[in-house]
Amino acid sequence: MSTAPDTLAITGWGVLTSTGFGADEFAAAVREGRSGLVDVEGAFDEQLPTSKACALVGFHARDHLGRKGTSFLDRSTSLALIGCELALNDTGLVVDDANRDRVGIVLGTTAGSLKATSDYSRETLVQDKPYLVNPMLFPNTVMNCAAGQSAIWHKLKGVNATVAGGQLAGLNALRYTRNLVRRGYVDGALVGAVEEFSPHTAWSAHHLHRQLGVQVPVGEGSAVFVAENPDVARAAGRTPDAEVLAVEIGYYAPTGQLPDAGEGLATTIARALERAGVAADEVWAVATGETGAQPLDEVEARGVAAVFGGAARRVRVKELTGECQAASGALQLAALLSHHRDDRALDGRVGVVTSVSADGAVGAAVVRGYSRA
């Protein structure tokens, strides 16, 4: 067994969504319940299925990162790079030659940049000979492009990993990071998730949502946290915004088999609370992933109700950011931390993040938050 701690200290974070840019702006939007739903008609080069979305209209990487080296970045990679930049600007951790080998990146994504990939395939499939594909596009077709480019951009040489997993991607990435720290692979990592909005993703979400009867608008964005070995952060005098006390993943069986869906989540939450050494009645808020797909949301509602009754407050980030697929879990955590950021009354209180995926996976993270006030 390793001797490294079983927990993570979050010492800074960054969010980029249509609701806000950076932790402070996002936190204000969450506190005020300000939605990022905007008019997207005519904002993209192809027709969209809906006129409104929680999209970053007019977003260009160069406006945030400068012109140098940004012209060929796909959207997912740009969102990830900026999320990393915002998180690094929000923490006391300074990455330099002394520690860059010990700081990694763990990102959750749905499918890299679907747009870059499909553009590439389309060019491949439909162009006349002699066909010419922009060779600068091609690293973008690799699914771990965002994490790899972020490492190069920010010069982070610690373990670099891309975790896939839809709704669970955020919690999976968090858990993966906790394990890397625990095994001494890294002292810290930028951990988060990213999801892009494009005509391609909008249409595929639209078809899927129509099948499921989902009304939630589609969104995009990234949320990235600086997660450190708590001992290392403490020794350096950095105070955490949050402690990730436990991340647990479980599953539920198809309808009619065991474990029942709600029970699957309830068991997972209970296990996470037990690992964290926290009682259910100490939990002040649950940041749920509610996707708008009724069967999934019912699983989540039943699981949460079974553990907390109606006692804990619900934090529903998708009311503000829309459905951001793989970025959901990370944005839920960001929303939870948003409530802590300026509110000393919540110092030391514990919240829970829950995720439910259509493929039978459920997850729960237990997080103790602190203010910066």
Binding site: M1, R100, G112, M143, Q149, I152, Y185, Y251
Partner: protein, 369 residues
């Protein structure tokens, strides 16, 4: 903390573990003309593809993955009832090919179909958790490192570690863009090598805290943070040294290295330089499998690992298929050229895997015949 591989199966263009090993030992290559793609457009004519019918089946990667997971679990006698079993799938491209076909045919793809939870659950009911790690060509090596941790922390009783990838048009395009003329075979470490070709398939192993089978001593990881596609000798050396430290071995204890060996202009000299730097006077046998089965992307690390274990058990190290005249940078390496080399007794093996984005995973395992 060592863990044991209690079951393993791979699926390559040469068949399962047994037929693949036999073909490699005889220096046979599985290369063939590309099956489902417009080769004239791609500037790629060949690949190491699995012959599974004249029509391209949907979700091929997921299919081979399910086969291998079921076979490895059966070998290990893995019972998910009452035990905590996690699955970790390493992949370069997930079901990217399904996205391409959806784009071409305008059929929407469900996001859930892009990772592999459903495929694994179908093959192994009762698995508690399925994690997909998309880490390019070293993905299944990263998956193995994570699996070790879950066992060490007592968060699982057994972990199914797997890797899979199918030929994707965008990857073919990529290869076609960087090649002057189409390559017809992968020739790792050879002076006349002309580049890489895609392989495809899947690999799965069952990892437990104890049992009969090869022992995973440690996995080293690093990230170059240097270039999207070009490897960096410093990052690779760092991963090798991390692996040795974690495994508690010095280079002279390692008897066999399964090189990443992609046959590209950049990889081979870089990897050869890193091996020379790390091993110095210690001269383990060095071989590689991509000349026989192509570059299997996310499955590559585990493919090499399973075939290395088989080699020690059979007492025979297959030659590097396609290697005739080694490059100067490999002058200090004992590359297995032309004929298979005998190997005896328990052997510590190093398995290299390096991926785009500079993600490196080096595994060290001990195999007893």
């Amino acid at each position: 903390m060592p863990s044991t591989i209690t079951g393993a199966e791979i699926r390559t263009c040469l068949g399962d573990t047994t037929t693949t090993f036999k073909a490699l030992a005889e220096g046979v290559s599985g290369v063939s003309p590309l099956r489902f793609h417009d080769t004239a457009k791609l500037n790629v004519t060949h690949g190491y593809q699995i012959d599974d019918g004249d029509e391209e089946r949907p979700r091929r990667a997921a299919g081979w993955l399910a086969e291998c997971v079921a076979a490895a679990a059966a070998q290990a006698g893995l019972d998910t009832a009452g035990r905590r079993v996690t699955a970790i799938v390493g992949t370069g491209l997930r079901e990217l090919r399904s996205v391409e076909r959806a784009t071409a045919d305008d059929v929407p793809v469900a996001p859930e179909e892009l990772h592999f939870a459903a495929a694994v659950r179908a093959a192994l009911p009762g698995v508690a958790e399925v994690i997909t790690v998309a880490n390019a060509c070293s993905a299944s090596g990263h998956a193995l490192a994570l699996a070790e941790d879950l066992l060490a922390a007592d968060e699982a009783d057994a972990v199914v570690v797997a890797g899979c990838d199918a030929t994707a048009e965008s990857m073919l395009t990529m290869i076609g863009r960087v090649a002057d003329a189409p390559t017809t075979s992968v020739r790792p470490f050879d002076r006349d090598r002309t580049g890489v070709l895609l392989g495809e398939g899947a690999a799965a192993v069952v990892l437990e805290r104890s049992g009969d089978g090869p022992t995973v001593l440690g996995v080293g990881l690093s990230c170059d943070a240097f270039h999207e596609t070009a490897p960096d000798v410093r990052g690779i050396v760092a991963a090798m040294r991390d692996a040795h430290d974690r495994a508690g071995v010095t280079p002279d204890r390692i008897g066999l290295v399964l090189a990443h060996g992609t046959g590209t202009a950049l990889n081979d000299p870089t990897e050869a330089a890193a091996l020379t730097e790390v091993f110095g006077a210690a001269r383990p046998l060095v071989t590689g499998v991509k000349g026989g089965i192509g570059h299997t992307s996310g499955a590559a690390a585990l493919m090499s690992l399973v075939l290395a274990a088989r080699a020690v058990r059979e007492g025979l190290v297959p030659p590097v298929t396609g290697l005739v005249e080694p490059i100067d940078e490999a002058a200090g390496l004992r590359l297995v050229v032309g004929e298979a080399e005998p190997i005896t007794g328990p052997t510590v093996v190093q398995v290299d895997a390096f991926g785009f984005g500079g993600v490196n995973a080096v595994c060290v395992l001990e195999v007893t015949p």
